[in-house]
């Protein structure tokens, strides 16, 4: 026990000696959460669109006014002819061009049926689709108001559960927290053993009477403490700066965070045991983890829409389970029983990673 404490102490000294790393370590998560909490949203507002109006009648003017005041669109250009459309798309800012045909108003009043051509810049298909559905809603409202279509007897009332104001912060705070915890924990530990190897101090550790498990635990505990401090900072920012609700139990949340950080730390250790220099350790932990964590965790893109193979792969990404767990506890306030399955999987992943790490950990130099 005493040797173990001495070892932990040594690790802490390594960390605290390097003031710059400490600043980066604690400052970075704060900057990232604040930046992304305010900046990132998947909603689309103020999309730049252009109008090509061949009709120039009151209806087309009214409709344009309606579109501009919807908040989704920003009419930036009035085109004069078809030939200008190509050019405006190539310049890259315009998302969509609306073409009113010559008889737009007449058709709408006389035949109760008018056509509008909507040309989208589908090089971003997502934005294109969402914008067209926004337009559809504006058109429907417009034609009902102008008495062109019959009002239906069927009303639809919608309710956004857990997130009535539809804030994307609810998505991004858990997501950013997961990414930061995952990467910092995995990176920090992966580089620490690789560093001892590169600088030659690993040999000293190996000839010492410390057992491999003691070395591993001693490497994990200091970083576990640091990561928990980071987690608490991010949580406080979420609660007090972004007004995230906290419906569930703090204790449960704390335990789950601990479990996730532990899994990430062990993953970092595993990476460090297979890599032979700090550079390979870093490339593996950064290149190997960053994009999969962002893209396969359900942070931005819903997993249920992905191809089956990717859905299977996403099952072994601890970040995916952790994001589900935080959202459940914080936003839905569910108890342990609702997230027992997800927790079980995280435990399983940690156990498998630990076994792999202990097996891979070599007590001899090559």
């Amino acid at each position: 026990m005493k040797t173990f404490l001495a070892f932990v102490n040594k690790e802490f000294k390594h960390i605290f000696r390097d003031k710059r790393t400490l600043i980066i370590l604690f400052g970075m998560p704060i900057v990232l959460v604040v930046l992304f909490g305010f900046a990132i949203t998947t909603e689309i507002n103020n999309a730049k669109i252009a109008v090509l109006d061949y009709s120039h009648d009151t209806y087309s003017q009214k409709l344009q006014h309606k579109i501009a005041s919807s908040g989704y669109f920003d009419i930036t250009d009035n085109l004069q002819s078809n030939s200008q459309i190509e050019g405006i798309f190539r310049k890259g800012k315009t998302k969509l061009v609306l073409v009113f045909p010559q008889d737009f108003g007449k058709d709408l009043v006389n035949n109760k049926h008018a056509k509008i051509q909507v040309i989208t810049d589908a090089s971003d298909p997502n934005t294109a689709n969402i914008l067209v559905s926004y337009l559809q809603a504006v058109f429907q409202k417009f034609s009902a108001e102008e008495g062109v279509t019959l009002q239906s007897n069927l009303d639809i009332k919608t309710r956004m559960m857990y997130n009535p104001e539809n804030k994307s912060v609810y998505m991004f705070v858990p997501g950013v927290m997961t990414i930061i915890l995952m990467l910092i924990s995995a990176m920090m530990t992966s580089i620490t053993i690789a560093r001892e190897k590169e600088l030659g101090t690993m040999e000293i550790l190996l000839v010492s009477p410390l057992k491999p498990i003691v070395i591993i635990l001693g490497k994990i505990i200091p970083y576990l403490v640091l990561s928990m401090i980071n987690a608490i900072t991010i949580l406080m920012l979420g609660l007090f700066v972004f007004n995230m609700p906290m419906e569930g139990s703090y204790l449960l949340l704390f335990v789950e965070i601990l479990l996730f950080v532990l899994a990430s730390l062990i993953l970092g250790l595993l990476i460090s045991t297979v890599s032979n220099s700090q550079q390979t350790a870093m490339l593996l932990s950064l290149m190997g983890l960053m994009l999969p964590t962002i893209l396969l965790s359900g942070f931005i893109f819903p997993i249920s829409s992905m191809p089956d193979i990717l859905q299977w792969i996403s099952h072994i990404i601890p970040a995916k389970w952790f994001i589900i767990i935080i959202k459940n506890i914080m936003l839905k306030g569910t108890g342990f029983s609702a997230i027992a399955f997800e927790t079980g999987i995280m435990v399983l992943i940690s156990v498998v990673l630990t076994i792999m790490t202990v097996k891979k950990f070599k007590i001899r130099l090559e």
């Binding site: 390097d18 790393t21 980066i24 970075m28 930046l35 949203t41 103020n46 999309a47 190539r90 310049k91 890259g92 709408l108 109760k112 049926h113 056509k115 051509q117 909507v118 040309i119 989208t120 810049d121 971003d124 298909p125 997502n126 689709n129 417009f142 034609s143 062109v148 279509t149 019959l150 239906s152 007897n153 069927l154 009303d155 639809i156 009332k157 919608t158 309710r159 559960m161 609810y170 990176m187 590169e198 600088l199 890599s275 220099s277 700090q278 550079q279 390979t280 490339l283 950064l286 290149m287 960053m290 994009l291 962002i294 893109f301 819903p302 249920s304 829409s305 959202k327 839905k332 569910t334």
Partner: protein, 369 residues
């Protein structure tokens, strides 16, 4: 010139002496490109729906039938208890609940107003919005069919949208995503390699040996930069081949233009890495700094979320984000066939910053300690 070549040779040997480097540099990114390009699709499929049917009539059944046979929805259960559906939402088994009220059939047949309600799990607001939108469309269709059946002819359709999707008529999301992921991978490789390079020589102590050689500062930086530039370009070429031949992403613009821009862009990224490398003392610090910048660059590049939706100040920050300019250019040139005049702004911003940051790195690198 010969001195530069020696440095280049030394760097190449150092990189490839490490057996793990080749797979990390060339296999891992390409696998990621091939896999991750499939993730980013906002088309919402497999929405799990729970229907609370209090009416239990022929009409409500035909609405349920319409929903369950549509491609986007996955009917989990029909029951008359809302709480049952709600507990399923808590367990993440259900995304949307549709409630059909009592007397749904009677009210509609007698032309009375009746109200359906949709409750969606809105933690992922975008997904919820899109799901509700799909469901509303289905219901509107259903009610129009109903009106048509009643014999009211001339159902007015109001304004009809004729949608033309340029540059990607099949609305294939991969066309959008593949060039973007390619940009990210090339950027990360270049930034991480160069960011940890000089600082490694500092940490291991070999920088002393380099400092006592008669090599000039600029020769040293150029010699360090060239190998990574070559690796970056090879990486880009492999990735581009995957994009064109595996994903069949169209390439409308000029290949030469893309390579010129990529080269300038890589010089900028490598310069940033070199600069990080000269201001830090340990590889760990360099790594954290490179990581910090790459997370910001990636999430604020407009690759995953639209820049237009960001608040004004955040949009201004993206003006300092090199990935943003490169993502714009690669998409414009590949998918739209834009020529040099359309990307001239981006070109000058990137090349200007490249010159600036590299001069800064040369200036900041001190041969004396």
């Amino acid at each position: 010139m010969r001195k530069i070549i020696f440095i280049v040779q030394k760097e190449f040997r150092q990189i490839f002496r490490n057996k793990m480097m080749k797979p990390i540099l060339f296999v891992m990114p390409i696998v990621q490109l091939a896999v991750l390009a499939y993730t980013a699709d906002f088309t919402v499929k497999n929405i799990n729906i729970f229907i609370e049917d209090k009416d239990n009539s022929g009409l409500s059944k035909s609405l349920i039938n319409k929903i369950s046979t549509s491609d986007n929805f996955n009917l989990v259960e029909v029951s008359n208890s809302f709480t049952e559906g709600f507990s399923k939402v808590e367990k993440n088994e259900v995304d949307v609940i549709l409630s059909i009220p009592e007397h749904f059939n009677r009210n509609l047949k007698s032309n009375k107003k009746t109200e359906l309600s949709i409750s969606a799990d809105a933690i992922n607001g975008t997904k919820a919005g899109i799901s509700i939108n799909y469901l509303q469309n289905l219901i509107v269709q259903f009610s129009q069919e109903l009106v048509a059946k009643k014999g009211v002819k001339n159902t007015h359709s109001g304004i009809e949208i004729i949608q033309r999707d340029w540059y990607n008529p099949s609305l294939d999301y991969k066309y959008f995503m593949v060039p973007g992921v390619l940009v990210l991978l090339v950027t990360m490789i270049a930034l991480f390699l160069s960011g940890m390079n000089i600082v490694r020589e500092k940490e291991v102590g070999t920088i002393e040996q380099l400092n006592v050689t008669p090599i000039k500062k600029y020769q040293f930086i150029i010699g360090k930069l060239l190998p990574f530039l070559i690796i970056g370009l090879i990486e880009f070429t492999i990735g581009l081949a995957v994009a064109l031949f595996w994903f069949k992403v169209p390439f409308l613009g000029s290949i030469g233009l893309i390579y010129i821009f990529t080269t300038v862009y890589l010089i900028l990224i490598l310069g940033i890495g070199m600069f990080i490398s000269t201001v830090t003392d340990t590889q760990q610090q360099a790594m954290f700094l490179s990581w910090f910048f790459s997370v910001i660059f990636i999430l604020m590049s407009g690759l995953l979320t639209p820049i237009e939706s960001m608040p004004e100040w955040a949009q201004n920050i993206t003006l300092f984000n090199p990935i943003r300019y490169y993502v714009e250019v690669i998409r414009m040139v590949m998918l739209k066939g834009s020529g040099f005049p359309s990307i001239i702004n981006n070109f000058f911003i990137i090349s200007g910053s490249a010159i600036f940051i590299n001069l800064l790195a040369i200036w900041n690198y001190k041969k004396t300690s």
